[in-house]
Amino acid sequence: MKKLLILFLILPVFGRMQLPADQKALTLADFSSISHKIVYESFRNGSYDLYITSADASWRRQLTDTKNMHEMYPKVSPDGKLIAFSVDTGEGRARRRDLYLMKIDGSGRKLLSRDSREHCWSPDGRYIAFVKSESARRFSGESWATKGLFFYDMQSGQVTEHANKKLEHLYNLCWSPDGKYITATVLGGMGFRHTDIAIEAWGTKYFQLGIVGCRPEFSPDGKKIGWGQSDRDFRIAKIDFSRRPPVSQKDIVGIIQVTKGYEVYHLDWSPDGRYIAFSCGPDGEQAVGGMAPGWNICILELSTGRWLNITWDGNHNKEPDWVPLN
C-alpha cells in the first residue's frame, strides 16, 4: 500500500480537478502507453450496445448493434477472448435480463442462462458465476432483486448452484484472483441490512469484508480491493483473508470524491493494477439498465490520483471492464 501514493481529491466540477501545484494536468497522451483495451456499455439509437476502446481513446469499435435489445455489463474472460454480458429484452414489467457470451470481436453470440445477471469470471476462466432474477411475476431492475448463486461451466455448458442454497439478494459478483472467494454486495439478505461479503466459492460460508458501500472489485494481484463508499467516492484497501474481517479500517484510503450533483460508479482495476476505470456523471440512474445521460468512462492513475474522461459524448457510458490480455 505504501507504494501507492493515493491522493484524496475533491473534484469541484465534473471533468476538472484540483491538482497539487507540481502536477501537470493529465492528457490522453498519458494513456497511450496502456496496451489494454476497455469494453463498456453505451446507449445510442434507442438501445444499449457494447463498445471496445483503447485507453487513450484513439481507437473505438462497436461490438453489438441490436435494436429492441440492450447489451450491457460486459465482463471479459481472463484470457481476453470472450465477453460475458447481460441482454435486456422487452419493456416495463415484462422486461427480462439474460446472460450471454460472445467473442471479443462481437461474433459468436450465445445464450448462457435466462433471467440471470451480475456475472463474473473465475480466475481460470472455466466458470462464470451469476445470480438469477428473484421474481417470476415481473422484472425488477434493482441490482439486489436476485436469488441464489450459480455457476456456468465453460467446459460442460452446465449450470450448477452454489453449495449454499440460502444465498439471496447478492449483486456485483467478483471472483478473487486466488479462486477461493466470490465477493458481492448484499441487501436485505441472510440477515444483513446492506453490506459487502465474501462467499467461499466452493464452500458454504460467507463473512463480511469490513467495508461500507457497494460493488467491491479485486486488484489483479488480489491484495487490494476497491469499492464505492457512496455514489460520490471510491475507497481502496488492503485485503487479507487470513483475518476477519479481511479489511481493516486503518487500511482504507479514499481515492476520488466528487461534489454533490455528480456521481462515480463501479470501478474496475487495470490488469497491471496501475489504473482504475470507472463511470461518472451527473446524478442519474446509473445501475444496469438505468438511464444516465451525461455519463462517461474515465480512467484514474492510482499513483497520482489524476483522472481523465476517455469518452465525452455522455451517451450513458457505463460499466467499463478492462481486457486482461492485449
Binding site: 421474481s135 411475476r137 441490512r193
Partner: protein, 272 residues
C-alpha cells in the same frame, strides 16, 4: 393473475366486516379481494401541521373519502405478490422496509393489477393518476388526516405518557421493527400510524409547501428531490412521534441509501 373481469366484480364486492362511528365519522373496515384489511376514511376537514419548522403554518385542509390500509404493508403482503423483499428485519408479519419510494409505488401497481384495478403510477415518469381505481401511496394530507382520526392535539391518543401503548419507537423497540398491529390503534382503527416504520407518502417534500398548498386534496409540490415520510420509526425518539411530524428521504431508487426505518401503507380512491 386474476381474470380482469372477475377481479373487477370481486373488487366491487368488498366484504364489509365492521362499521363504527368515531369522532362523528363513520368508519368501516373492509377486506379486499386479496384479503388485505383496509379502513374507509370519510372525507372531511382538519387542521394540518404543527409548531416546528417545516410544519407551519397550521392550515385547514379538506380531503375526499378514501380507503387506507389498516396495517403497514407487511412482508407477507409482498410475498403474496412475488416481489423481492428488501427488508432487514425479516418476518411475515413485520412491515417491509428498506423499500425505495419507487418500489413502494411498484408494489401499489402490482396490487392494483392483482385485483383488476387500474394502476395509479406511470412507471416511466412515476407520476400518480389520482383518478385511477388502483392503489397508491397516501398524499401527506391524507396520511395526517387518517393519523389524527378526528383528534386535534399533538397525539391522537391524548397524553404523551401513553405513547408506549401506541407506537413502536426507540424506547420500546425490540431492536428493529415489530410485527404490525402489536400496539393500540387510533380511533379509526389504524395501527402503527406512529412508529414501527416511517411511511412513504406520495408527495415531494418541501419546507415551504404548507404556506402555498391547496386547501382541498393537496398533492404536494410538483417536483423535488425527496419524498415525504410520516409517523416516525422504531429508531426514532419520542420527540418526532406525533401527528404533525414530517420526515423526508431521498432514497427514491438508490439501493445504497435505503433505510430499514422506512416502509409504507397504501390508499385507494373511495367512489363518491
Amino acid at each position: 393473475m386474476l381474470n380482469r373481469q372477475t377481479a373487477v366484480v370481486a373488487a366491487l364486492l368488498l366484504l364489509f366486516t365492521m362499521c363504527s362511528k368515531e369522532n362523528g365519522k363513520t368508519v368501516r373496515e373492509i377486506r379486499t379481494k386479496s384479503g388485505i384489511e383496509m379502513v374507509f376514511i370519510p372525507g372531511g376537514e382538519f387542521m394540518m401541521g404543527g409548531d416546528r419548522p417545516g410544519e407551519t403554518p397550521v392550515h385547514r385542509v379538506g380531503v375526499d373519502s378514501f380507503y387506507i390500509d389498516k396495517y403497514e404493508v407487511t412482508q407477507q403482503m409482498y410475498r403474496m405478490l412475488d416481489l423481492s423483499n428488501p427488508s432487514h428485519f425479516k418476518g411475515e408479519k413485520k412491515p417491509v422496509e428498506q423499500v425505495a419510494w419507487m418500489n413502494a409505488a411498484i408494489y401499489c401497481n402490482e396490487r392494483s393489477i392483482e385485483e383488476g384495478l387500474d394502476p395509479c403510477y406511470d412507471e416511466n415518469s412515476w407520476s400518480c393518476n389520482y383518478s385511477a381505481s388502483g392503489y397508491r401511496l397516501p398524499s401527506e394530507a391524507e396520511w395526517e388526516y387518517a393519523a389524527r382520526a378526528g383528534s386535534q392535539g399533538k397525539y391522537f391518543f391524548g397524553d404523551v405518557k401513553n405513547i408506549k401503548n401506541y407506537a413502536v419507537f426507540s424506547q420500546n423497540t425490540p431492536g428493529g421493527t415489530d410485527n404490525v398491529g402489536t400496539k393500540k390503534p387510533n380511533a379509526w382503527g389504524l395501527y402503527d400510524m406512529y412508529g414501527n416504520v416511517a411511511e412513504w407518502c406520495n408527495d415531494f417534500y418541501s419546507t415551504v409547501y404548507y404556506s402555498r398548498s391547496s386547501d382541498f386534496n393537496p398533492k404536494g409540490p410538483r417536483e423535488g428531490s425527496a419524498r415525504v415520510t410520516r409517523g416516525g420509526s422504531w429508531n426514532d425518539p419520542e420527540a418526532v412521534i406525533y401527528s404533525g411530524s414530517r420526515g423526508f428521504d431521498e432514497s427514491f431508487n438508490d439501493a445504497c441509501i435505503l433505510k430499514d426505518t422506512i416502509g409504507f401503507r397504501c390508499v385507494r380512491r373511495a367512489d363518491k
